[in-house]
């Protein structure tokens, strides 16, 4: 097995009583696209901000190629944001914006050339047409390409993308995702992409990790995980995606999850259809569902779900 680019070890991030990230192990391999999915408030943004070094972990570690990042900043990691308009300083030209990463890192080479290359690679061709433009003078899709060019100009090894297409027109989402996939395939970049949208994960990810209330509850290769989800939460998420019309729709009942009051036992148990339907009783795990936290999925796991029912069935069958 190749060495992981980034390893997150038993990461906890608390904001007062809110446990936004509550025990996460995760590895990102070089050259892969890993999608992080989960509903709003599950801690996805907090997790990737911690990987970038923007948020200080309450406990646990982020290792880059086996080394703990000493400073806050990992030069080989860059970010792409949901809203490109907000991510670009309105008073800077495209060339200044893209060059910023180089200037911060005191780049010794030819800056103008590096900027032009980054713009072309991000699909803004010919780059001269864009260099002196201001963000308000170009379209939303082009702005996101400028953000990507600004992130790629320093040739990072990992790109953290927080909902990179959520604020864009549906018609240009595919283009931007295609661009990301293309960068991965041509440069060996790894991408950790946060999304609400499982369809998007299906289109570009190699692996998927599902997050629920600050914890990763299922992980696996994209096709396997989306074709045969194991965790009841993943099943429920998938049942409402238009691409999976075959499935019976499950609308989750029970209280809205709150990171200030994470339930005991399995954190999903107040909303779990398996427990509610009596299935857990039949499997003899209902007690555990309510009282015992399933083990945290390890970073090395290729296919795993943090669920007592999944374990019971695996043992039985």
């Amino acid at each position: 097995m190749t060495e992981a680019l980034v390893v997150v070890e038993d990461l906890h991030i608390h904001f007062g009583a809110a446990r936004a990230v509550d025990g996460v192990n995760l590895a990102v391999m070089p050259g892969e696209v890993l999608a992080l999915v989960g509903e709003s408030g599950s801690g996805k943004t907090t997790l990737i901000r911690a990987i970038q070094g923007l948020t200080h972990p309450t406990s646990g570690k982020v290792l880059f190629e086996g080394k703990e990042a000493d400073a806050r900043h990992l030069p080989d990691v860059q970010m792409v944001f949901q809203d490109p308009t907000g991510a670009l300083n309105p008073r800077r030209t495209v060339s200044e914006i893209v060059a910023e990463g180089l200037r911060i890192e005191k780049f010794k080479g030819n800056e103008a050339e590096a900027v032009s290359t980054a713009l072309s690679r991000a699909g803004l061709r010919p780059p001269e047409r864009f260099l002196r433009r201001f963000p308000h003078e170009i379209s939303g899709g082009q702005r996101q390409r400028v953000v990507i060019a600004g992130a790629m100009v320093t040739e990072p090894r990992l790109l953290l993308a927080d909902e990179p297409v959520a604020s864009l027109d549906a018609s240009i989402r595919g283009e931007i995702l295609g661009l990301l996939r293309n960068l991965v395939d041509t440069t060996g970049l790894a991408v950790l992409v946060v999304t609400h949208d499982l369809g998007l994960a299906w289109n570009i990810a190699d692996r998927v990790a599902v997050m629920y209330l600050g914890r990763i509850i299922e992980v696996g290769p994209t096709e396997e995980l989306l074709d045969s989800p194991k965790h009841p939460y993943t099943k429920a998420l998938l049942s409402v995606v238009p691409e999976t019309r075959g499935m019976e729709q499950q609308i989750l009942s029970g209280e809205i999850p709150d990171p200030k009051r994470i339930p005991s036992g399995c954190r999903f148990h107040p909303r779990c259809p398996v427990l509610q339907s009596g299935e857990s009783e039949r499997l003899g795990i209902a007690e555990r569902c309510r009282g015992e936290d399933p083990a945290i999925i390890s970073a090395a796991a290729t296919r795993e779900a943090a669920c007592w029912a999944v374990k019971a069935i695996a043992v039985a069958g």
């Binding site: 923007l54 991510a87 300083n89 309105p90 008073r91 201001f134 308000h136």
Partner: protein, 321 residues
């Protein structure tokens, strides 16, 4: 900057100035029935002499003719004679400009610089004691009437302690020259300038603080931080230049009011500038003087608004197109 943008702004300013000229003419024709009678109110003057004076002032002509005269004279800075001093209005005004520019100009610059710095400091340490004390103290001064603040400082700084002079621009009968004269003036300007500076600090502090807080939510600051830019540089390179745009506009507008002087504070400190001249002219009423002053004040405001627009267009690429 876009030339069309600049030409449009200049044209707009000229049109506004034109309206002010027309308005200024008719306003004073409406309030004033017979200036000559006002001028010699209570005095026994023969009717022929009054008629002669009316002819001298051009008051016997029809309104249209008077308006043309007015435009011509205004263009030559001939603003008529002051009723009170019987001197040309423009000379009266000219002699008072330096005192007002010195006092109000100094305070405008000081309040802009210090107020903005305080607002920035408060925003940067929002929610802390620093923020709280800056916000409350500047708001306290801002909400006090300026003449009252002036009187408090006058009583404290001059009457009780005797550190500063009670009023005036320079010691009466002083024959000092050079540095000595300058120090004397500084001594006199200190209290009124402090009053005005304190009174206007709050506006800048509050605008700078809220604008910086707003800007600090922007994602491009996170982007810069994610790229490894240190916090202090993120603030200086990204947050401040954007956050201070409203402060630029605010200062330009306030500088437009520098010539209008500070009626109340100049009166409290017997500072013989345009503000005090205005209150004296109102008491007269000295209509030619008031007319001249209003024209000057409006022109200054229009000019500085134009400057604000042009500077803003220079600083913010989004408004140019």
């Amino acid at each position: 900057m876009n030339a069309r943008f600049a030409i449009g702004k200049v044209a707009g300013a000229l049109i506004t100035l034109g309206f002010v000229l027309v308005f200024n003419f008719f306003l004073f024709r409406v309030v004033q029935t017979d200036p000559v009678a006002t001028l010699f109110r209570g005095r026994n003057i023969p009717q022929e002499r009054l008629d002669q004076l009316r002819a001298e002032f051009g008051l016997d002509k029809p309104l249209g003719g008077q308006f043309v005269d007015y435009l011509q004279q205004t263009a030559q800075l001939n603003l008529g004679l002051s009723y009170q001093s019987r001197q040309p209005v423009w000379n009266e005004i000219k002699s008072k400009i330096p005192a007002t520019v010195a006092l109000v100009g100094t305070s405008a610059v000081l309040s802009a610089v210090i107020g903005t710095a305080l607002g920035v400091a408060a925003a940067w340490r929002r929610g802390t004691k620093t923020d709280y004390s800056i916000t409350t103290s500047t708001m306290l001064f801002y909400s006090m009437p300026d003449f009252w603040l002036g009187m408090l400082l006058l009583v404290g700084g001059a009457i009780i302690t005797g550190i500063f002079p009670v009023g005036g621009i320079i010691d009466a009968g002083s024959s000092r020259a050079g540095i000595g004269r300058l120090l004397d003036q500084a001594h006199h300007i200190a209290l009124p300038a402090l009053t005005l500076t304190l009174a206007y600090l709050g506006e800048y502090a509050i605008v700078a603080r809220s604008s910086l807080l707003e800007t600090m939510k922007e994602d491009y600051l996170v982007v810069a931080r994610a790229k490894g830019l240190r916090d202090i540089k993120v603030r200086n390179r990204h947050a401040l230049p954007n956050a201070l745009l409203p402060v630029v506009t605010l200062s330009a507008i306030n500088f437009g009011f520098v010539l209008s002087g500070a009626i109340a504070v100049e009166t409290v400190f017997s500072w013989s500038g345009l503000g005090k001249a205005t209150s004296d002219a109102i008491r007269g009423p000295d209509l030619p003087m008031l007319q001249g002053l209003f024209l000057l004040f409006s022109a200054a405001v229009i000019l500085f608004n134009l400057i604000a627009d042009l500077v803003y267009g220079r600083l913010d690429p989004r408004v140019r197109t």
